[in-house]
Each structure stands twice: as structure tokens, then as C-alpha cells.
């Protein structure tokens, strides 16, 4: 199944998780490779966390399989030096100090005690090492979770929504951290519901919606395909402008409200043409469709598809509303 020469591969094959009637993860197949940051993107409730829990052997898949370098998670004899994970904020006992929390994890995997101080230093929690974690802020909690993930200096790192609760400085820090971890040849698999965040960190993108794989592509491809640049044009002499553009071989599309949209970055050319033909322009603005929009469209389609293939009685509107809410919150 996996090439043994490549270490740090996570391979999912037909991974499915059902909770009663509800399908949380639906026949998911993709591979996460070393050396790059792979973004795992989907709206809230898309099944990202469930997938990550199955990778880590916490949840049993209903069907399908997930392997880490050809092995199941529970077959790993030294899991923390192989794969480190930030799962959810504050998955620990609040009464224990940060140092003791990391110490008990280190001991369970035979990791030298000195690593505890090293990772506390790395995440910047040395000053509060002997403080109880229940007093930690959300950001400090995330840092402790990241320290736990780095403890075994593993070749694979998984972060579930790592920027949640971090301040701008913390977000910048974790972005740099993830990129540099990947640059060292590690596998970095990071989930997020924010396309903008992924665009800044990930080189590869896996998008899911409603537990279904929607895209498995390089970030460059995704941007090239989805971030359409176009020019918005408004003119009181719309018909004449259309003729002029047509003669010049420029395709313009009407998009309602008297607005014309021209694909590509042709703003200068349109301006010159309008001047030559003495046409008045009210607007001539280059536009860039955001990745965020592209992603919303991608996931919204999956919702619509789901609504049609499921019960015909339910309208596609309510679920769409929910997806939108998820975005706004982010």
C-alpha cells in the first residue's frame, strides 16, 4: 500500500464513520505526504475532527482503513516519536501543571525528560511551566497542546484548528512553525475552516464537506482554478460598449444591474477602447474573486447535492444557512 522509502505518509482508503443514521465521514480517500503542509479544509461539522480522531485510532471507522506508513495507529510502538497531534483545546487535567502534563506524556513513550523543558521553551511557556493549566488562556492552551505534539520530535504532525484562540502574534508564530516543520521534511497535516488561513500556510489542500471529499489538489492549482480575475465595467452606453468590445475580440458578460464583467486583467485596454470611441464609463475596476468565495461555493454545492440526493421534501436553504453561519463565526 505504501512505498517504504517514503516515511511519514498518512493514507486514507474509503474511510467512513457513521453515528447511527448520520454519516460523519463518507468514503474518504486521500494521501498526506511529507515535506509539505497539507491543509484539511471544511466548514464546521464537515468531519475534519472525526477523520483526525480515526487517524489516531481514537474512533473506530465504520468502514475503510487508515494507515500511517502502512501501519495502523495502534501498531505504532513509539507513537509520540512518530506522530504528534494537537487534537482539541485543553485535552488535559486542569489541576496538573504544564510541566507534569508533558512529563507524564514523555514517560509513557520513554522520551527523555529534557525534552519537556525543550518543548516548553519552543512554545514559550517556560515561565508558566509550574503553573496549573486551568488558569491558562485559550492561546496558552493551544501552545501547550502544540508542545505536547512536538514532545517526541515526530515525523508526522497533525494540528486540529491550531489558530483557534490565538492572537495575531500567535497565529504568525504557528504559521512559521508549521512551514519550518514541513521544510525539515516532516509531514504536517493541519485542519481549518478558514480558507484564508490555509492559503497562507498550506501547499496542498484537501477539502471536505459533509464528510465527503470535494477537492484534493495543490494550493497553486486551487488558486489558479478558483481565483478568477476579471474587470467590472459600468457604462450608460452599454450596448455601444458591448459592440466595441466585441469588435476588439473581448468577451464581456452581463452580470445584472447593468454591470459587465470581462475575464482577465484587461482594464487598461477597455479604458483605451472607451476613450477612442468617446464612451462614458462609470466604473472600470479590476476584481479578484477571493479563495474564500471559491471555497464557499465548493462546499455549498456539496450541500445542495446532498439535499437533492437525500429527502426531496427538505429545501436546500436551511443547510446553506448553517454553512454560512459557520463562515461568519470564523
Amino acid at each position: 500500500m505504501s512505498r517504504s522509502s517514503v516515511a511519514g505518509m498518512i493514507e486514507l482508503e474509503g474511510l467512513t464513520k457513521r453515528y447511527g443514521e448520520k454519516v460523519a465521514v463518507n468514503n474518504l480517500s486521500f494521501t498526506v505526504r511529507p515535506g509539505i503542509v497539507t491543509g484539511f479544509l471544511g466548514p464546521n461539522g464537515a468531519g475534519k475532527s472525526t477523520t483526525m480522531r480515526m487517524i489516531l485510532g481514537l474512533d473506530h471507522p465504520t468502514a475503510g482503513d487508515v494507515r500511517i506508513d502502512g501501519k495502523r495507529y495502534e501498531q505504532l510502538k513509539d507513537p509520540l516519536t512518530y506522530i504528534g497531534a494537537l487534537l482539541e483545546a485543553k485535552a488535559w487535567h486542569g489541576g496538573r501543571t504544564a510541566y507534569n502534563h508533558l512529563l507524564c506524556l514523555a514517560q509513557s513513550n520513554g522520551i527523555p525528560r529534557s525534552r519537556v523543558r525543550d518543548v516548553l521553551e519552543t512554545v514559550g511557556l517556560t515561565a508558566v511551566a509550574k503553573k496549573k493549566t486551568k488558569g491558562f488562556s485559550m492561546g496558552m492552551g493551544q501552545r501547550l497542546g502544540i508542545a505536547a505534539a512536538l514532545l517526541g520530535d515526530p515525523r508526522i504532525l497533525m494540528f486540529d484548528e491550531p489558530v483557534n484562540g490565538l492572537d495575531p502574534e500567535g497565529i504568525h508564530w504557528i504559521r512559521t512553525l508549521m512551514k519550518s516543520l514541513a521544510a525539515q521534511g516532516r509531514t504536517v497535516f493541519v485542519s481549518s475552516h478558514l480558507m484564508s488561513e490555509m492559503a497562507l500556510t498550506a501547499e496542498h489542500l484537501v477539502v471536505i464537506g459533509q464528510g465527503r471529499l470535494l477537492a484534493d489538489t495543490s494550493m497553486a492549482d486551487f488558486i489558479a482554478r478558483n481565483s478568477r480575475s476579471y474587470v467590472r465595467v459600468r457604462s450608460p452606453q452599454r450596448e455601444r460598449l458591448l459592440d466595441v468590445l466585441h469588435q476588439a475580440g473581448i468577451v464581456a458578460v452581463e452580470s445584472g444591474g447593468g454591470v459587465l464583467e470581462v475575464d482577465g486583467g484587461k482594464a487598461e485596454r477597455i479604458g483605451e477602447l472607451a476613450a477612442q470611441h468617446r464612451l462614458t464609463l462609470h466604473e472600470l475596476s479590476p476584481q479578484q474573486a477571493s479563495l474564500e468565495e471559491a471555497f464557499m461555493q465548493l462546499t455549498a454545492e456539496s450541500v445542495e447535492y446532498h439535499a437533492h440526493s437525500g429527502t426531496h421534501a427538505t429545501s436546500p436553504e436551511p443547510p446553506r444557512q448553517q454553512w454560512g453561519d459557520g463562515w461568519k463565526r470564523g
Binding site: I36, L58, T81, A91, R96, C104, S108, P112, S180, Q184
Partner: protein, 290 residues
């Protein structure tokens, strides 16, 4: 041991390096790879149990109850006139240990159930994917802790009572009585705590599991008290004889009833129940999602 230390300072500045270069061979950790075993899990669980306040509280209150109530009973009995008529003074430790067992039950439940409450269990299971090993490590660490603390407290109280009542006509306890009144009762209480730990693992809810265990200790006696009817005589006796307080008293040979378990029977009974609970907790843990 030296390689991780020498490697790490290099790794930190490397993180600031520009990304983009990829190593198809993946990353190899400089940390020596260790094949983990039960010993690692036990060390980890020991750190866990000693690093939370609830351990200190429950065991602290336990020692206070056992020694405090033990001393009080000793003083009261020594003051009263016809003291122990040729009876073994060890039996006086019963009251403190009965109340103290509630603390051991609470600590046992918290050892497993609190991890589910806090979400720590996911971190634990990621670090040690062998769920059976985690449960075994918790059981070993808790059992030994509970046993040692109980043994020390119970022995202290036993010596105290024997010393206090020496001149009061109490009989000098035999070696067998000493063994049952210290090691025997401590094994029983530690097993009762272990049973609570397993119930906590199955219920995954601290308050629920503690309620169930305290109910298991008290309910049979209380229910038996209300069984007035003649026809229920047998049930009533059985509830009485096999209730945990009565089984505890068997270790002092002053059972509340004449029939029912005697000698070391209570220990075998709780050992069987705990073994069944362990199997149940193990199977459930394997089957369920964390």
C-alpha cells in the same frame, strides 16, 4: 541521551529558515526510538496520580478519618467501664475504615472517569494506543497506592488500639488476627477502590460512578433494614451478610451475623467481582470510541 540535546538547539533556528525545500525521505527524529512497554505506562500513571490535588485530598481525608476515628473509639472504649471482655481490640478500627473507604472509592473513580471529563483520555490514548495497557497501568498504580496508604493507616490504628487497651481486659490478638486486621482489610479496601476505578472507566462520569459505588456499599444494608416481612427473611439475611460493611467486619471476626462469609471469604468475593469488572471495562474500552 546526548543526541536529542545536541540536536534540538539546531532544530529551533532551522524553523526560521525559509520553507520550500522538501525531503522526500521524510524526517527522522534524533530522539532514540523506544519500544514502549507497561513500565512506561506505569511511570506515566504514577506521575499523573501524584500530580493532582484530588489524590492529596482523598488520601489525606482517608488517613484523617481512619486515624482520627480510630483514636476516638480507642479513647471512648478505654474510658468506659467493662471495656472489651476478652475481645480483640483490632475490631475497633472498623468504623474509621468503613467511612474512609468512601475516599478510596472516590479516588478510584477519579483516576479513570476524570480523564473522560477533562478530555485527557484522548491525549492518553494517543500517547499509548494500547488501551489495555493504559487500564492495567492505572489499575497497578492505583491499587498499590491505595494498598500502601490503607496498610500504613490501618496498622497504625491497630497498634494504637492494642497499646491503649492492653490493661483493659482485651485479649491479645493472634498472628492470624493481626494479618487479617491489617494486610487483609487493606487488600479488601484497595480492591474496592480498584472496582471503583473500573466502574469509573465503564461509566466515564465521575459523579455517576461515585454514586453507584457508594450505593453499592450502603444500599444492601439499608434495603435489608426495611424488609420486615417473614417471607423475605432469606433475602434480608443474604443482603445483610454480603453487604460490604459486613464483609469488612469479617476481617475482624466480629461479623454482624453468624452465618455468611467468614475468614478470608470477603477477599475472594471482591477479587472475583473485580476480575469480572476488569474484563468488562477492558472489553468496553476496546469497543468504544474515545
Amino acid at each position: 541521551m546526548s543526541s536529542p540535546q545536541s540536536q534540538m538547539p539546531q532544530a529551533a533556528p532551522a524553523w526560521q529558515a525559509a520553507p520550500g525545500t522538501s525531503f522526500p525521505s521524510g524526517y527522522t527524529s534524533p530522539i532514540p526510538v523506544v519500544r514502549t512497554h507497561l513500565g512506561h505506562a506505569v511511570a506515566s500513571e504514577w506521575t499523573k496520580i501524584r500530580s493532582v490535588r484530588s489524590t492529596l485530598w482523598t488520601l489525606g481525608v482517608f488517613v484523617l478519618l481512619v486515624i482520627g476515628i480510630g483514636t476516638l473509639t480507642g479513647v471512648v472504649v478505654a474510658e468506659s467501664d467493662p471495656a472489651l471482655d476478652g475481645e480483640s481490640p483490632l475490631g475497633l478500627g472498623f468504623f474509621g475504615l468503613l467511612l474512609g473507604s468512601m475516599c478510596i472509592i472516590t479516588l478510584g473513580v477519579l483516576t479513570t472517569a476524570s480523564e473522560y471529563g477533562t478530555g485527557m483520555i484522548r491525549t492518553t490514548m494517543v500517547a499509548c494506543p494500547s488501551r489495555g495497557r493504559v487500564l492495567t497501568a492505572k489499575a497497578v498504580v492505583f491499587f498499590l497506592t491505595a494498598f500502601v496508604v490503607t496498610l500504613v493507616s490501618a496498622s497504625l490504628v491497630a497498634f494504637l488500639h492494642v497499646a491503649m487497651l492492653e490493661g483493659d481486659g482485651a485479649k491479645s490478638p493472634s498472628g492470624g488476627e493481626w494479618l487479617k486486621g491489617t494486610v487483609g482489610i487493606s487488600l479488601y479496601i484497595a480492591l474496592l477502590g480498584l472496582l471503583s476505578l473500573l466502574v469509573g472507566s465503564m461509566i466515564r462520569h465521575s459523579a455517576g460512578a461515585i454514586t453507584i459505588m457508594i450505593g453499592a456499599v450502603l444500599a444492601p444494608l439499608v434495603i435489608a433494614l426495611f424488609m420486615f416481612s417473614e417471607s423475605l427473611q432469606d433475602v434480608r439475611d443474604a443482603l445483610f451478610e454480603y453487604s460490604i460493611p459486613n464483609q469488612l467486619s469479617v476481617f475482624y471476626a466480629n461479623s454482624l451475623s453468624s452465618s455468611g462469609p467468614s475468614g478470608w471469604d470477603p477477599l475472594w468475593i471482591i477479587l472475583g467481582v473485580t476480575a469480572v469488572a476488569f474484563a468488562g471495562a477492558f472489553l468496553l474500552q476496546e469497543k468504544r470510541d474515545v
